[in-house]
C-alpha cells in the first residue's frame, strides 16, 4: 500500500489521485469510525467524503504526520456535528451508548465546572490519561475517541468483551475520582 508521504505529496501536487489513495488506505477505518457515531451508512459515507474534502483544503499547507490520526480526527468532528444535528432522532449509535456510560461520572451542567473550557478540560483529560497504563489508555480512547464497540476493543487488545466492560467501568470510576480531585465538578 502506498506510503503516507506519497499521498501527502499528491495533495501538495493537487492530484485528486491523492484522495483516491487516501480512501484506499484509510477509507475503511474512517467509515467505521463515522458509522459508530452516526449509525447510518449514508451519513457515514458523507462524513468521510466531507473529511476528505477538509483534508484536501487543509493540505497544503498542513503536512500531517501521521496521516491516519489527522484524518480520523476530522472524520470524528464532522460525524459528531452530524450526530448532534440529528441527535433527537437517533438514540442507538455506539456513540450514544458510550456517552450514556460517561454521563454517570460527569456532573450536570449547572455546576461550577460548566464554566470550564473545552481546551482546559482536554488538558485535564490528557493528565488523567497519563495516569493510566498503555492498555487502559488504548481501551479508553478506543471507546470514547474512536467509538469502538466492546467486541472491537476486545479483539484489538486481546481480552474478552466482559473484561473490556469491567475495565471500562473501573477506568470511568478512576476518571470520576480524578475529576473530583481536580474540582472539575463537585
Amino acid at each position: 500500500m502506498i506510503e503516507d508521504e506519497k499521498i501527502i505529496a499528491m495533495f501538495f501536487d493537487r492530484s485528486e489521485q491523492g484522495i483516491r489513495e487516501l480512501d484506499i488506505k484509510y477509507g475503511k477505518v474512517c467509515r467505521k469510525l463515522s458509522y459508530n457515531i452516526v449509525h447510518n451508512r449514508q451519513d457515514a459515507e458523507e462524513c468521510v467524503n466531507d473529511a476528505y474534502l477538509g483534508a484536501w483544503n487543509a493540505i497544503p499547507p498542513a503536512k500531517p504526520d501521521p496521516l491516519l490520526t489527522y484524518i480520523c480526527k476530522i472524520v470524528r468532528n464532522i460525524s459528531l456535528k452530524i450526530y448532534y444535528r440529528k441527535e433527537a432522532a437517533k438514540r442507538n449509535s455506539t456513540y450514544t451508548i458510550a456517552m450514556e456510560e460517561i454521563e454517570a461520572c460527569i456532573a450536570d451542567p449547572n455546576t461550577v465546572e460548566a464554566e470550564i473550557e473545552v481546551k482546559e478540560l482536554a488538558r485535564i483529560i490528557e493528565n488523567f490519561l497519563d495516569t493510566l497504563t498503555v492498555k487502559e489508555r488504548v481501551i479508553f480512547m478506543r471507546r470514547y475517541a474512536y467509538m469502538d464497540t466492546y467486541a472491537d476493543i476486545a479483539k484489538c487488545v486481546g481480552i474478552s468483551e466482559k473484561n473490556v466492560s469491567v475495565r471500562l467501568t473501573l477506568i470511568r470510576q478512576k476518571m470520576k475520582d480524578y475529576l473530583i480531585g481536580k474540582e472539575v465538578f463537585l
Binding site: C72, Y84, Y95, M99, I106, I116, V118, M141
Partner: protein, 171 residues
C-alpha cells in the same frame, strides 16, 4: 459538564493519544503464550527424540567409506556432541567417539563455569601427543582450526576444578 463537552474535549486531546491507539499491538495473553510455549516444547521434544533416533541409526549403520569399519561420529552429519561428565581433577577425559568433520574447524563450547583445557588428537597418534591444545574459560568457546576431513580426531578434556565437564562440540 455534559457528554457533548466531554466529547469535544476528547477531540482536543493531543494526537499522541490517538496515535498510541493506532500503533498499539495487543500482546498475546498469558494463556495463549503458555499454549504456544507448550506446543513448541512438545514439538521440540519430538524433534529431539526423532533426531536422537536418527542419530543412533546413523551412528550404527552409516560409516563413511573412508573410515569404514571404524566407529566414529561425523560432526557434519550429526551437528554436535553434548558432553556432561564428572571428571577427576587433572585427569584427562576422552570423548568416547572418534570425530570426523567436513569443515576445517571443530568448535568447543565450555558450558561450565570452570576453565578447561582441551586437546585434539589424531587417531593415528597416542594420547600423549596432542595435535593442538587450548584453554577455554568458563562459559565461552574456542575452535580448533586448520583441520582436514581426511582424519579421524579424538578430543580430550582436562579440568582443574571438581566441577562437572560440560561442553558442546560442533562442526
Amino acid at each position: 459538564m455534559n457528554s457533548k463537552k466531554f466529547s469535544e474535549a476528547i477531540s482536543e486531546v493531543d494526537d499522541k493519544y490517538y496515535e498510541e491507539v493506532i500503533n498499539y499491538q495487543a500482546t498475546k495473553s498469558f494463556k495463549r503464550r503458555w499454549l504456544v510455549a507448550l506446543a513448541a516444547a512438545i514439538m521440540t521434544f519430538s524433534l529431539i527424540g526423532a533426531g536422537a533416533a536418527i542419530s543412533q541409526y546413523v551412528d550404527r549403520v552409516e560409516m563413511s567409506e573412508r573410515f569404514e569399519g571404524i566407529e566414529h561420529y561425523d560432526l557434519s552429519e550429526n551437528k554436535k556432541i553434548e558432553i556432561s561428565e564428572v571428571a577427576e581433577i587433572g585427569e584427562i577425559f576422552i570423548v568416547p567417539d572418534a570425530i570426523t568433520t567436513n569443515r576445517e574447524k571443530i568448535t568447543i563450547k565450555n558450558n561450565s563455569s570452570a576453565e578447561i583445557t582441551v586437546y585434539l588428537y589424531s587417531s593415528d597418534n597416542d594420547f600423549n601427543d596432542a595435535i593442538q591444545e587450548m584453554k577455554i574459560e568458563g562459559n565461552s568457546e574456542k575452535a580448533f582450526a586448520g583441520l582436514s576431513s581426511r582424519f579421524l580426531y579424538h578430543i580430550g578434556i582436562v579440568t582443574n576444578d571438581t566441577e562437572q565437564i560440560s561442553v558442546t562440540i560442533t562442526d
